[in-house]
């Protein structure tokens, strides 16, 4: 029998309305500003189980950060229910706050003027961590992210990437059950991004942390998350695994063949019934890139194998980036 997984996040009919100032004349703006109500989140339902890595995806202003802020108890919802680890986050009870962590890519939790070690000491005291536990954890986490040598450097003297690594360590020093990450790789170089993604995956796997991530970087989501929730205009548009997202919204497949000989005109006309030929940037001689769907993929492969000596063959799904772009267009 399949074991029922424990829900750590349960959101029902969540709504958030903001008051936004309406543009009016200069004097009216100062003395009698007018406001309009904007519905930023329109009745979202979400259930997340322990240990999942879930991405919130959406264009700017879609409502994903607002949803995360409501989950962490930072802003009050206008309507609906939020239960995080069985608690009401808006009460901001210390016992609840001890069980979550928050990283914001463009906001700093560590003090600019202190060294990372001094900042970690503050965190250790805030969470009332035992000296040995905190020291061991700092040592292992800094090793994992390759920043051990930088512990005594003032935060302001660290590079953006090094600072973000320290922020990550600071946010999970207390071993939270859920880690909320809002654009954690924003502005980082490729190598640092990669290291951060590996780190997040490691802590999810080894420590069973539930990861809730928002990012504009599709690679972050592909590398770290198992599930994706697409939000647009305050509504949940999609909620499933990344693999299913690709399958559901794009039945297309890209097939690349490297053949011994060039295709004849007759063969091309037969293939054209099954696929369209795409521009191929490969340097191989007699390399062809075809776009087809799942249904016609097998007949296409059979046709090509029948009369040609195939040197190499690759089947690729449509890149997630294209799927997301299509999804946003559709919504």
């Amino acid at each position: 029998m399949k074991e029922k997984m424990e829900n750590v996040i349960s959101i029902k009919k969540l709504k958030k309305t903001y008051k936004v100032r309406k543009p009016s004349g200069l004097l009216k703006n100062i003395f009698k500003p007018k406001y309009k109500e904007v519905l930023a989140v329109k009745g979202i339902d979400i259930e997340i189980t322990k240990g999942e890595a879930v991405a919130f995806l959406g264009p700017n202003g879609a409502g994903k950060t607002t949803t995360i802020k409501m989950m962490t108890g930072l802003i009050h919802p206008s309507d609906g229910q939020v239960s995080i680890l069985g608690c009401d986050p808006f009460l901001r009870q210390p016992d609840f706050l001890r069980r979550i962590g928050l990283v914001m890519g463009n906001k700093m939790a560590l003090n600019w003027d202190l060294t990372a070690k001094q900042s970690f000491k503050l965190i250790k005291n805030i969470y009332n961590l035992k000296d040995k536990f905190a020291d061991d954890r700092i040592s292992s986490l800094t090793k994992l992210l390759g920043v051990t040598e930088l512990l005594d450097t003032q935060i302001r003297n660290l590079s953006l990437g090094e600072r973000m690594k320290m922020e990550l360590i600071g946010s999970i020093l207390h071993n939270p059950e859920i880690l909320f990450l809002d654009e954690p790789t924003i502005g980082l170089d490729i190598l640092t991004k990669k290291r951060v993604r590996i780190f997040l995956k490691e802590i999810q796997k080894n420590e069973g942390i539930t990861l809730i991530l928002t990012s504009h970087d599709i690679d972050d989501i592909e590398a770290v998350c198992d599930r994706v929730i697409v939000i647009n205009k305050g509504e949940k548009f999609y909620d499933d695994s990344i693999g299913n997202l690709v399958n559901k919204y794009h039945q297309n497949r890209y097939l690349r063949f490297v053949l011994e000989k060039e295709l004849t005109k007759e063969q091309m006309s037969e293939i054209n019934k099954l696929a369209t030929m795409e521009e191929d940037d490969s340097n191989d001689e007699n390399s062809y890139l075809f776009k087809t769907n799942n249904e016609k993929m097998i007949p296409l492969v059979a046709t090509l194998l029948k009369e040609n000596n195939v040197l190499d063959m690759q089947i690729e799904s449509v890149p997630l980036e294209d799927v997301i772009a299509d999804l946003f267009k559709a919504s």
Partner: protein, 271 residues
């Protein structure tokens, strides 16, 4: 589970200790800044003493205050300014900055008594000593203490009024910072409090109307004028101390309610 008084105090003392230690680390990270501050307070105090000398070179008393009384008034006023600036203004200013830049998000998600943490974040012992000692020494040396007629009781009551007055001024600054929760910024209002919270106005020099206004509706004259006038025997100590205590208690309640409302209105800066 209800928190015991012991735990309540323990957590706050721990936070205070950490914040003092952190502020110490920050301030010692930039040693040149300390020397610049010492010079600045020295020149300000010296010019103010010169100003008093010029005034009292032409008149014997001002609102019933002699040169010596006025030096004592300046002594308390400077003490009040530097302590208030260090424990309240800096922290209220940092609160606005945190809201404005959205860093408040990362404070509100920590298991802390938030208001206590925020209001002690920049509690600098070094700065109090650095900024206070030199001007107070300069003024203190010039005062003829025996001529002031201070008694132990008047000093004690004066200290109670001074402490209540500091708290009243703090709540005043704090309330002026809270609009930041609604509109994201409140620096201009806080700057207004900087001007208003340390008026060098002896109560006896004010008309009855202004005396009432500046000790009730806008109680900015309690901390210095109130405590000094009681210490040197110019005001009724019982009335003043009772009024200061009532006002401090009432404003503590207002502060608590306002903080809860502000937290509820917090929208968090966009990321």
């Amino acid at each position: 589970m209800k928190q015991s008084v012991f735990n309540y105090l323990k957590i706050r003392l721990q936070i205070l200790g950490i914040n003092i230690s952190n502020t110490f680390n920050i301030e010692t990270a930039y040693p040149a800044e300390n020397w610049a501050n010492i010079l600045s307070t020295f020149f300000y105090t010296a010019s103010y003493i010169l100003f008093l000398n010029v005034i009292f070179g032409n008149v014997n008393s001002l609102a019933g205050y002699s040169y010596n009384d006025m030096l004592f008034f300046t002594f308390v006023s400077q003490l009040s300014f530097y302590t208030l600036f260090n424990w309240s203004y800096d922290n209220v200013d940092a609160l606005i900055e945190s809201i404005h830049k959205g860093e408040m998000d990362l404070i509100l998600t920590k298991p802390l008594p938030t208001l206590f943490y925020i209001m002690t974040r920049k509690f600098s012992i070094i700065r109090v000593v650095r900024d206070c000692v030199l001007p107070l020494l300069m003024i203190g040396i010039l005062i003829d203490w025996s001529a002031l007629g201070l008694s132990l009781i008047s000093i004690l009551i004066g200290i109670i009024i001074f402490v209540c007055g500091q708290w009243i001024m703090h709540v005043f600054q704090f309330l002026l910072a809270l609009p930041a929760f609604w509109q994201g910024q409140s620096q201009a209002l806080l700057r207004l409090s900087y001007i208003l919270t340390n008026p060098n106005l002896p109560l006896q020099g004010l008309t009855k109307f202004w005396r009432i206004i500046l000790t009730t509706v806008l109680p900015i004259c309690i901390v210095v004028s109130g405590s000094v006038s009681v210490m040197i025997g110019r005001s009724n100590p019982k009335t003043m101390v009772l009024w200061a205590l009532c006002l401090a208690l009432f404003l503590t309640y207002v502060r608590m309610i306002a903080w809860k409302k502000a937290l509820r209105a917090y929208n968090s800066a966009s990321s």
